[in-house]
Symmetry: C2
Subunit: 322 residues, 2 copies
């Protein structure tokens, strides 16, 4: 009861700029706390306005350095910036304090920047479920730009990246990333390609490869053609060009009604995932005595087929408020 | 109506050993045909008895060759064998005729062997949903051993492998597979490791690496300790040892009540996935006019939070038979 009453106060403090309140709310979100629906309800009025930028790429392409420089450039344009560094494979909980990454120390004392690492540990729906809520916390805290940085390997990361308005895919010369990108379907999610470490051998070839892939890609007349930006993030080079590309894409999204469309599609996916998660919980696990366990035993011995079992399970499902 | 009446006849023909009927049933399964529940119902009485062996590994480790040799060895022991070669990344539909892989031509004329490639194309729930049904078709057709061969990369493949009673993980010397295996969580699913191409340089090191990982793995006193088998599948070497290891593991599963437990857990996951798929269908997509679309629009503009939206969606959900 007491904790439940804390939520509106915590949201008020986060809105007033208290970094500890922001940290506390993200921890609640990340751990899939039972207060999550209340947190979401308290935050809703302050959400839906921030620009969400996804940034993904293989290990070693310079994601953190690029994020760091992007934050600097966005701050110089007077944006309040939130950063979620999402690592699905991290064994660490994300419960560290704000500014928990050494490389982000440049911004540790800047009250206009919130930085947070997240891992999927503890959250039932995984990062795909937790990340949109964490974005809402940062929006509630007044961030008008939220950067979501993920390792670009695998389905979960693609899902996380898909919550962005604009997705940046980082590559580096000579890493075979271009081929990897196609394989992983990353080409389809990239709005802007960043060839980082562009002072290295092979940068021209990488840019050429990407441009070739873009040229081959099928696009309708009204569709966005991905931009390619060269950067040397470690020296701050190309970052202004990157910000310009992001702004161009944002303008295009607004102009074509695509921003609204993407956000509604994302909201629909999120609502559906929460609803399915609720239903899954109600279906119960394999613990003895649950309807699912009894049905599974009959399917395993061949006395019932799985479709008939699923129908029986749905018939027994209580949809009244749990 | 007419097609619906065909199902029992098709199952009868498959049970009588008609390979075209088996192929037709797997195509129905793979395409997520609306007749699927009827197919599953007709097959149920004949399922739950076959031994399911999963075989996974990176491209180039020799999965097809090993499968081919395993089939030969199992045939020599008078088993009827089904093979499902599952490739989640394949752009081809699996609608090819039985014995569609050149490398499997050895068994093309053997009526005791069914071989089938599958892809996830067309099936809503993906391979994780289609594969258990395809295993049932092969069981129904009289196979007492079903080999499921998958490329060991990514979550989908781990899920597919998880439907096996016994999972074989293939590695080859000098491919960095050992490290990859740990990363992908494949160590946790392996009951038997096969170091194929064991005549090559680095085979000893690979065996040592795996044994080291096994030694470090946490196991309770009653748990199975993964076996390591060396093989040169291209020359048929090590295959008898592999069959022996598989038989040992099967005996261990039976002895410890683990076979029953695994199969019930799998059946539960399958029933749950079908039930959730049904519910997802009923929730509707983002097409204008559906409840989900209306709720998503309110979430996107911040006038409703996603948890409240999910509750409203569930309240509107019709669970009566669709």
């Amino acid at each position: 009861m007491r904790r439940s009453r804390d939520v509106p106060m915590l949201v008020d403090r986060a809105r007033a700029g208290d970094p500890r309140a922001v940290a506390r709310l993200i921890t609640l979100v990340e751990s899939g706390d039972e207060l999550l629906p209340q947190v979401a309800a308290a935050l809703a009025p302050y959400t839906g306005r921030a620009q969400v930028i996804g940034l993904t790429g293989s290990p070693g392409v310079g994601k953190s350095t690029t994020t760091n420089e992007l934050v600097r450039a966005l701050r110089a344009r007077d944006h309040r910036v939130g950063v979620l560094a999402v690592d699905p494979s991290s064994p660490f909980t994300g419960g560290a304090i704000l500014g928990d990454r050494v490389r982000m120390q440049d911004h540790a004392t800047d009250p206009g920047v919130y930085i947070r690492s997240m891992s999927s540990r503890g959250h039932l729906g995984g990062l795909a479920a937790a990340t949109p809520q964490a974005v809402r916390v940062l929006e509630g805290a007044g961030c008008d730009v939220v950067l979501v940085e993920t390792v670009g390997v695998g389905q979960a990361e693609v899902e996380v990246a898909s919550l962005a308005d604009t997705t940046l895919v980082l590559l580096a010369p000579g890493m075979g990333d271009a081929i990897q990108a196609v394989k992983a379907g990353i080409l389809e999610i990239a709005d802007v390609f960043v060839v980082n470490k562009a002072d290295r051998d092979g940068a021209d070839a990488t840019v050429r490869d990407i441009n070739g892939m873009i040229a081959l890609g099928e696009r309708g007349p009204g569709q966005w053609r991905p931009r390619v930006v060269r950067a040397v993030a470690a020296r701050g080079e190309g970052i202004d060009e990157l910000v310009t590309a992001v702004e161009k894409h944002h303008g295009w999204l607004v102009e074509h009604g695509e921003l609204r469309r993407r956000r509604e599609a994302r909201a629909a996916a999120e609502v559906e995932a929460i609803a399915l998660g609720t239903l899954r919980d109600r279906m119960g696990s394999l613990r003895a005595g649950t309807p699912l366990a009894a049905l599974a035993a009959r399917v395993a011995d061949g006395s019932l087929d799985p479709y008939a079992a699923a129908r029986e399970l749905l018939d027994q499902l209580d949809l009244s408020d749990g």
